[in-house]
Symmetry: C2
Subunit: 328 residues, 2 copies
């Protein structure tokens, strides 16, 4: 999308998304002016999504737009940051993007409204290659109060928000490898896979109570391992404790090997839920604040000195052959 | 670059570039924490460069790394912003990137040192497509003192920094279309094309004196036109007034059609110099401050009410056939 096409796309479709931020100059300038509120800082995160790598080739562009923003909102939430401005960098494939532009911007517009965000800048170009979207998102944090991966302490409890595994089941359904006879369950997992809604209301609660947090984007066990490595701690997760949705329980009940099925849900990725580490004395207040905000949380483990993640199912060690298939 | 290769690249080569910014958490977290100094705001700009589109296929990766950062520094300078932190998003081509990584990071490291910047985050992935680099750069501006494209007023003078056209001549030399018998001229235009150094010291001077500014990245006349359109003004540029380097004068003297040759230099792009609009009463102080900072400036025109850019050569209207080949 070179020359006039690019300028027209920016002026006609993207510029209206900046109307809440005068410092974006309607995308007519080389950049935007941004400042956090007094006493606050920005948390900044950036994700690149490539068609055929991070979302399926031929994906509905509406969903691609939504998911690109949601992935960054999930990162911000884990940092205790309330989403605000964002930049969008697009590389359109030279062939065959024209039919996608409007659906994509519609998805982006709906997501930015849902997450209370505003486009403020970016870049648009085209090339002989796959459709590529980079989003750089800014969240507001109270200065000095950001949970990060390395902040957990021995004795902290490890909790996860809401349900785990539905996005994995949505992907399997998309690939024709999982079937739900109940259409409400089918729609539920499709929604969690294609148009996830990170629990943004947890951001300020994490700021108040969490010693460490991460969003579940590489799979629950993998992301727990990121915290353990960054904080220099160990823990033990029992797959019987996984918080499953009705769809998750329905699917697990139909699998021959329950530990393997639960392990798939705990390593499948893209849940966009939050893993939080909370000091023992704050667990009750943290859980109550989450419930007040309409978000379920489940205690999964307590953190201990040492290194490594031990995984069991109902107290029994997992078969090494099963664990060997995963990379967490 | 998926899996361990990606994590290793980030930890081994990119994380050391963040050592000046604790809020980058050594690239181990989902994002970075940033805040401008008290009383200041961030100017934020983002550019995506695709191999084969924005830099030549097979480009020395050292130069690609340098140029990616320089392009953003140029935008920040035009906004009166002093460069600071930046994010880097890379899509490596699946085939054949291994030999490029070290040279690329060396170029990036040298550029970030030259421009006093610090890596704070980003994303790394790989795909079947061209090498793609997105840089999002933050500059610090005094709140409320940012020159932008739409701020020029009738009667303001229009000035340009240093020399124009050398990057165009470097590209032509790279393509085998321009030859310099003097090796120092040859090296000069190659340097301006492949490893440009935007005049960052002008940022604070622009904040103090300029009503509007833009960096020359689309060609001098095209970028002047962006200011005219955003500010709702007109002006007249005489190509005889172009500030040319010794290489530029040498090359022009060897061309059959001088007006066409000068027009090529004035529309060729990527000079990464600054066009500034300055109120009449501040032109002398602005010029003196630039000279003090070691940067030449040339007055090119005065801005008038109306619309459009009139181009002449030594007072004579340009041939419509010549102008017709350009897009500014």
């Amino acid at each position: 999308m070179a020359g006039e096409g690019e300028f027209d796309f920016i002026a006609r479709r993207l510029a209206p998304l900046t109307s809440d931020h005068p410092g974006a100059y309607g995308l007519k300038d080389d950049g935007a002016i941004l400042a956090p509120p007094d006493g606050c800082a920005f948390a900044v995160t950036s994700d690149t999504l490539v068609e055929g790598v991070h979302f399926p080739t031929g994906e509905d562009p509406f969903r691609a737009g939504w998911k690109a923003l949601a992935a960054n909102v999930s990162d911000l939430t884990a940092m205790g940051a309330t989403p605000g401005p964002y930049l969008l960098n697009i590389v359109w494939p030279k062939a065959g993007f024209a039919g996608r532009v409007d659906r994509f911007v519609d998805g982006l517009a709906q997501a930015q409204k849902a997450f209370a965000m505003t486009l403020v800048g970016g870049d648009t170009t085209s090339a002989d290659g796959p459709w590529t979207l980079s989003i750089t998102a800014f969240g507001v944090v109270k200065a000095g109060r950001t949970p990060h991966r390395g902040g957990a302490k021995p004795g902290d409890f490890l909790l996860v928000s809401n349900r785990i595994g539905d996005a994995y089941l949505g992907l399997q359904q998309h690939l024709g490898r999982a079937i739900f006879s109940d259409s409400s369950l089918s729609q539920h997992v499709d929604q969690k896979f294609a148009a996830p809604t990170p629990p943004v209301v947890l951001a300020s609660i994490l700021q108040d109570y969490a010693s460490a947090a991460i969003d579940v984007s590489d799979g629950l066990l993998g992301d727990i391992n990121h915290i353990l490595q960054a904080s220099g701690l160990s823990t033990h997760i029992d797959l019987g404790d996984l918080p499953l949705s009705e769809a998750g329980r329905d699917w697990v009940a139909r699998q021959d090997n329950e530990p393997a099925a639960r392990l798939a849900l705990a390593t499948g990725g893209d849940d966009y839920e939050i893993v939080a580490c909370v000091p023992q004395e704050s667990v009750a207040q943290f859980s109550a604040a989450c419930a007040q905000a309409g978000q379920g949380v489940t205690v999964l483990a307590r953190l201990e000195p040492g290194t490594g993640l031990r995984v069991t199912f109902r107290g029994k060690a997992m078969d090494a052959d099963i664990l060997g298939f995963t990379h967490f």
